[in-house]
Symmetry: C2
Amino acid sequence: MSGWLRVVGLGPGDAHWITPEVQAILSEASDLVGYESYLARLTPGPSQSLHATPNRVELDRAQAALELTAGGARVAVVSGGDPGIFAMASAIMEALEHGPPAWRNLDVGIAPGISAMQAAAARLGAPLGHDFCAISLSDNLKPWSIIERRLRAAVAGDFVIALYNPASRARPAQIGLALELLRATAGGERYVALARGIGRAEEHVQVTSLADVDPAAIDMRTLVLIGSSQTRLFPRGQTGAWLYTPRRYEAAP
Amino acid sequence: MSGWLRVVGLGPGDAHWITPEVQAILSEASDLVGYESYLARLTPGPSQSLHATPNRVELDRAQAALELTAGGARVAVVSGGDPGIFAMASAIMEALEHGPPAWRNLDVGIAPGISAMQAAAARLGAPLGHDFCAISLSDNLKPWSIIERRLRAAVAGDFVIALYNPASRARPAQIGLALELLRATAGGERYVALARGIGRAEEHVQVTSLADVDPAAIDMRTLVLIGSSQTRLFPRGQTGAWLYTPRRYEAAP
């Protein structure tokens, strides 16, 4: 009996973003482990066991998945987006490093997926077409001071910025603080794109500016993209607009 | 006769990373446009036209693709990786913005793909598990000074750093200059991962440090990842190691 564990990413919503690699792992797994809303997107086979857990216990979920694997199960740990970007792969690594030494001999692997910023960028045009950074606004596991430091550095480097986990019911005020910091350092003219529920029925995309953005329009399902000094907006046919960051850097801002 | 254009990403190499969305577009297209080495990865149907171009004429390729679309063709513009990240989507946007106004009414869309840093991260563990940035070292279209500014900002923000286009035959020295700058500002102890040809037969991954990395080991097919102060390395079974960035930020470096 030889178990394995794969951390897989379902992408941001639509099944047409699930890679064949992930699809194959999902069909070969004996056990599917993940946050309940991700597992709800799957159609398990009759012999597959589902292990649904609430969202905020990543490390418990990782340990349980590794225990199943050590017992011989074929385990798919299911993330949304890319498991390697603000998702379960890091929790599995943490559990492996600090768990029983025998776990390090288990057959463990990661299968990448489309992350939220990529799907949002595809809908908008090409905002990530040049140098960018990705920052999680969650301060559950890091101090707010390091988030501020990174936002300042992102502006100093004139990066396009993707903000993950911009808000939750437990911390509704932080996105407002972050946008205020960005406005104070980069100015109000930077483009801000709000991409909500990309790949789902409720998909909605909006482009505004740091001066005009309303933090109340941003929730935990929103991916926030802030342009660099170079990011451009131009009309798309009769309605809408394309947002993109040119490959060329014209002049220092 | 109603044409369309889709910018698609094949991922970094292995076909099992091509999404079903991209696969469907490739099979429905009448014309496949792209850099010759990307088109060589496809098996075109008997009625599909291939338009292979050398790599360094992205804007010409974008304009030619839009002209085909305006003439009624169903055009797939083929990138490696994710077309939205240092690839063709931005060139298409540039051609659209500055081209004939009628082009803006064309049916244009982007289909995301797995980018090189994601595939590299999956092989290594979870180095992108926390805040990170992506920087192209190519100075064909931007001054070297903005690259230096971004490298400094990335260190100031203690980001994990993914370096795209780290070297080419035309500019072999820049990766050495970049690593020197990073070593001088972040210190020699940061982990450096070199991921070459991920998803291909020649796939090779190596983890070293800023103090020890050899720039001569890095070529245009290498994705370079530099850890933050928090990134960790631990043994993987009998051989090898896992590299990951924890979700928790322990202390300011």
